[in-house]
């Protein structure tokens, strides 16, 4: 038997430690495929045996499972530990980690759940996962200076139309996980907050991720709702005051 070079060895090792049912089953799968005939016998290339290689297989899976259990604790509570374990097994087969930080591991989890069989039994599970992921994302999103109420109060009236409005990086608008309507999730200081949004806010806030002027936002409300222009201006002024108090808006001045 020829000894593997570095790339061959790592490919074989990788296949075995990421095999979903352990190293022995992974060896069976390689044999079935017939694309690495030297993988067996293990002792011909590896010192330590299946049990020692399984240490790496277990570390691979359980470290990732632990990360997802922490990020999606409510999802696990909803489906139970066993089904969550199986769901994660399927997820990691579909999306092996492709980022150097474990923080990114759950990025595709909600979309994956939406397409998975488990969604038939738990139709709102994907929404719940999106909610939990939004909380993860805003937790360590970029810090930015926020608009202060004093700045708003000091604004000259003729400067108001051109006031630039943009939400902070640590803000997400998502579907409410267990009800109708939308939910705002955002970070203020170190703490993550959330509150339900009415239909108007749910339409306007996502637009502000890219940024709009006060005047453009009034125009958007006017076009979306058919509200009279004066009514739209008054409504946006109230919302901007609220968002400023909630530290939802960047200081772009």
């Amino acid at each position: 038997m020829q000894q593997p070079d570095l790339a061959q060895l790592q490919r074989r090792f990788w296949r075995l430690i990421t095999a979903p049912r352990g190293v022995e089953a992974g060896l069976d799968e390689i044999a079935r495929r017939g694309d690495d005939p030297d993988a067996r016998p293990l002792a011909a290339w590896l010192r330590g045996g299946v049990e020692r290689l399984d240490i790496y297989a277990n570390m691979y899976f359980y470290r990732l499972l632990d990360v997802l259990r922490e990020d999606f604790a409510r999802c696990e509570a909803r489906v139970g530990a066993d089904d969550f374990h199986d769901l994660v097994t399927d997820y990691l087969l579909a999306f092996p980690p492709d980022a150097p930080s474990l923080r990114a591991l759950g990025e595709r989890f909600a979309d994956f759940i939406a397409r998975h069989d488990i969604a038939r039994e738990h139709p709102r599970l994907a929404n719940l996962a999106r909610y939990e992921w939004a909380r993860v994302e805003v937790f360590d999103a970029a810090d930015v200076a926020t608009l202060a109420l004093e700045q708003l109060a000091a604004l000259a009236p003729d400067a108001l139309p051109e006031l630039p409005l943009q939400t902070v990086a640590a803000a997400r608008v998502i579907d409410a996980p267990d009800g109708d309507g939308a939910l705002l999730v955002w970070r203020r200081g170190f703490l993550v907050y959330e509150r339900p949004l009415d239909a108007r806010e749910a339409q306007l806030l996502p637009v502000l991720a890219q940024g709009r002027t006060f005047e453009a936002l009034c125009q958007a409300l006017h076009e979306q709702s058919g509200a009279a222009e004066i009514e739209a201006v008054q409504h946006i002024a109230q919302l901007v005051a609220r968002w400023t108090g909630e530290q939802l808006l960047r200081d772009l001045q």
Binding site: I55, P97, D98, R103, D143
Partner: protein, 282 residues
């Protein structure tokens, strides 16, 4: 012995379990902190608030877990770019990563996987380390990892491999004494001879940690205090090479900050004692 050099023995790893304590309190007599580089790839929030506070109070070093200097497919350029940006923001006293591989085909194991000890691997890893050092514009330290398997193709001992890579890459070494102890037990080599063989001039940092006994092997669990045999190896190294920046790693069942700082204090006291013995023998 200069006090500043002795103080270097009292480092601890920054873990989120201690964020609240460190935001509200002085870090005490801990001399410096090590962060896991990848944990700060996201740009803001509480982690960065803690880090910015600590940076103002103590030296900070960056320890990576995902560079993959041994990956057959090579180090990701995107990873190096992100690390370079982090280095610019953190301004660490030094940086380190592991002498291992950690992924294949663009995927990450998020684990420290063992390399075969071959000339091919020496050449490959050394070239990757040189590349990383060129891109990052600074020398790095490579840490020896603990392992549970070996490879029939290996043509040299682990310590010969470690020294050969360091020499060919011209990098420093982060000597993890607990890892030496764990791997010596698991593979049946002499831990004392291993640490004696590491060139003093290459040792830029030392790691100490706890491990767990799984019956037929030791597991590098970082879940408890440093055991006496590892402390004895540490003393052996310091008596030979002098004071080295030393850090206690504790990643599972993480104790209070005070307890962790106490372990770091113990490392500092042992380092002082070993240095005194070294000076007396000189």
């Amino acid at each position: 012995m200069h006090q500043e050099k002795l103080d270097l023995a009292r480092g601890v790893g920054l873990r989120r379990e201690h964020f609240t304590h460190l935001l509200e309190h002085d870090p005490g007599d801990v001399a410096w902190f090590e962060i896991i580089s990848e944990n700060f790839f996201e740009p803001g929030g509480r982690p960065w608030a803690v880090l910015e506070k600590l940076r103002a109070e103590r030296p900070v070093v960056m320890h990576g877990v995902a560079m993959g200097v041994g990956n057959a497919t090579g180090i990701s350029r995107d990873y190096l770019a992100r690390l370079a940006a982090l280095i610019e923001r953190v301004e660490p006293a030094w940086i380190s990563d592991h002498l291992c591989w950690g992924g294949f085909g663009g995927h990450y194991a998020h684990d420290l996987l063992p390399l075969p000890y071959t000339e091919e691997a020496v050449r490959h890893v050394a070239a990757q380390v040189r590349l990383a050092q060129d891109v990052l514009g600074r020398r790095m330290l490579l840490e020896n990892v603990s392992s549970y398997v070996g490879f029939e193709i290996s043509a040299m001992s682990e310590v010969e491999f470690v020294c050969a890579v360091a020499a060919e890459a011209d990098c420093g070494l982060l000597l993890d004494i607990n890892n030496v102890y764990v791997s010596a037990h698991n593979h049946g080599f002499d831990a004392g001879a291993y640490v004696d063989a590491i060139p003093a001039a290459r040792i830029g940092q030392i790691h100490l940690a706890g491990h767990s006994d799984q019956g037929d092997y030791l597991f590098d669990s970082h879940d408890g205090p440093v055991i006496d045999a590892v402390w004895a190896l540490y003393r052996r190294v310091i008596e030979r090479v002098g004071a080295v920046p030393t850090l206690i790693e504790w990643d599972e069942h993480i104790p209070s900050y005070e307890r962790l700082a106490g372990e770091a204090r113990a490392a500092g006291e042992l380092s002082r004692s070993a240095c005194e013995a070294r000076d007396a023998a000189a």
